[in-house]
């Protein structure tokens, strides 16, 4: 069963625990600057929105790569960057419609979310369950249940 990162922005408080967990897992340093997941704060609206790679089935980044440095992980569904193959041409960063593949000046290769090999640290670090890791085929299940519950008959308050 493939799993996907499910993001519910209305639960996000903007604390950046996910960015630290991500960067620490990937680089061994608490460094939001190289996090694969980003929190966007919309100040005027009072909203925080986590954003990262959705692991497209037909991945633009993978198709665009001229040296096949982005590969499919069958176990997790992630599109992973092979750092020793990547030549830093950045074509994938242009190809990605969502901007979730980025170049790192320090390493001279690109980086993106790899789902931490199937156990994403961002989801574990999120204190409010704004980021969860759920069955890819049923990411809408909780929302369906919430809407379904709206039509339940009123329960008697007496038991």
């Amino acid at each position: 069963m493939l799993k996907s990162l499910q993001i519910e922005p209305e639960k996000c408080t903007g604390c950046l625990q996910c960015e630290m967990a991500c960067s620490y897992q990937a680089t061994g340093v608490f460094n939001p600057a190289v996090s694969r997941i980003k929190i966007f704060a919309f100040h005027e609206e009072g909203r925080f929105v986590p954003y990262t790679c959705t692991q497209c089935s037909e991945a633009w980044c993978m198709h665009a790569c001229p040296v096949e440095a982005i590969v499919y992980n069958e176990k997790t569904g992630a599109k992973e960057v092979l750092e020793d193959v990547c030549v830093g041409c950045k074509v994938c960063t242009i190809a990605c419609p969502f901007g979730t593949v980025n170049y790192n000046q320090a390493t001279r290769v690109v980086y993106k979310c790899d789902l931490c090999g199937g156990d994403p640290e961002c989801a574990k670090a999120c204190p409010t369950e704004a980021i969860t890791y759920v069955d890819s085929d049923h990411t809408g299940l909780d929302r369906m249940r919430a809407h379904a519950a709206q039509n339940l008959p009123q329960q008697s308050s007496q038991t």
Binding site: T13, G14, C15, L16, Q17, M20, A21, S23, Y24, T27, G28, V29, F30, N31, P32, A33, V34, H43, E44, E45, G46, R47, F48, A125, P127, T128
Partner: protein, 623 residues
Amino acid sequence: MAWTRNVLRVNLTKGSITNEPLNMKWANDYLGQRGLATKYLVEETDPKCDPLGPDNKMIMTTGPLTGTMASTGGRYSVVTKSPLTGVIACSNSGGFIGAEIKNAGWDMIIFEGKSPKPVYLYIEDDKVELLPADDLWGKSVWEADEMLHKKHQDPLLRVATVGRSAEAGCLYSGIINDLHRAAGRSGVGTVMASKNLKAVAVRGTKGVSNIKDPAGFMKATQEGKKVLAENAVTGQGLPALGTQVLMNVINEIGAMPTRNWREVQFEGASKISGEAMKEPRPSDGRPNLTTNAGCFGCTIACGRISTIDKGHFTVDNKPEYWGASGGLEYEAAWALGSDCGVDDLDALTYANFLCNEDGFDPIDFGSTVAAAMELFESGAITTKETGGVELRFGDPKALAWAAEVVARGEGFGKDLGLGSQRLCEKYGKPEFSMTVKGQAFPAYDPRGIQGMGLTYATSNRGACHLRSYTVSSEVLGIPEKTDPLVTDGKPELVKAFQDATAAVDSSGLCVFTAFAWTLEDISPQIDAACEGDWTADKLLEVGERIWNMERDYNLAAGITGKDDTLPKRLLKDAAKTGPATGKVNGLAEMLPHYYEIRGWTKDGVPTPDTRKRLGLNPKGVAA
């Protein structure tokens, strides 16, 4: 480790910027942030210096856990000599810039001297420059923040800046970072403006490494987060209602200072409470509260983000205030609300927005307005001074006007910018000022919560709740319940809270964690991150050392034990309603015993034995 071990020294007179290694001997004795920066200030400055002169220094400082995954690990402090109190100032703020300074590779920034022209400090990791700020001078915090983001074309830039109130010399101006988080108290923003330093803009991409025991640190911080999540205050009360969870609680126990502390309960409390912020308004069907928000790394997320009704008189035809921004915390709601007798939630939110927009402390501002309202009521101030405004208790329009004139430093706003003590002295009624050492009280009446009287009288930065929050024990029962109406045992309680808080304030963590964490929860996190052996006992000793160092600085600055007192109103005029009816604060029953257990003389001076035990050797005092 966990420290970057790099100190940035900026001499504003010369325009020079140098990098020097952190003094690790001092780091071992004072940990970081509040303690360590105060040690630098004590060693490098004359306590008698003019707070607004070039000889005063201003230190922006992080703690060893700032920028790490420890919950709430994003704090920074500003340490300097206060122009409001004449004693040590140490103002702590959250938001994101503390972690950004650390991510850029710096433990602290020491500002010295005074720039001949307005400048701002731009930091991009190792690239540090003083740049001209002529275009930023005269702009609000919100305008300057936007201009800096545009100029550097960097949406990820973090900015701390002073507003127009600080430029105009308001003595309780703060430094605002990330638009609505504040190093708010004691006039640290006034000091920054006096140095012609408008802003600090930071981009850090190095991150925080050098954790002593990474696996142990992840485990310890994970356990700490679990404790916060499972605690009723940090896991439920604070995220849901913010610090405003206290409004109804404190009013019910009769410790809600009202109309400049003449009363102890406010009839409008429920209308300005955390619960009221969540109620849809009849006017537009939306609540005042838009969402809660976390500072960097915080798993509690007590921050309030609010929106004012577009039709409210304060923002009518002013679309710049229609968006969401930092909303009311309990202290602001009390100072702007109960203390001024105003129960209009959106009017308080508007005044709070202005405090953020132009960088001034809502506690001292609200208290000064309350004192001015009493001066007006008594006839000591008239419409001649205010320029026609009837400054009456309970009037939201008068409050909104006062915030506007202080923000811009205009007209009577200059008088209000003096703070409660100087204002009341100027108009011949010093007894109306509800301050200790020149700083206004926060929102807990010590007639109804006795330990807070001793807390205020002995606080090293003037009246303050964040130096020993005995409300935890006396009201909330944390770590154990004590009777708020008795003085017995309170000296011990105050000392324990003061020492523990000084340690927490030196770590990079938020003091609100102390609703759930004891030093036994905190020490494993510090110990796993920092070299050395950081037990709870050592943290307590470090806290006591910091407290006594601050005290020695204050004594050298010119205060004496006689300054450890409260206004007559709290010592002579009994509470008229609520559970504390008939009570005054019993400071005289507590203070001598407090001095004794501190190891101080009966005049409040640390004895040579106490200094020796703590390894303190203040300048100008024989060892």
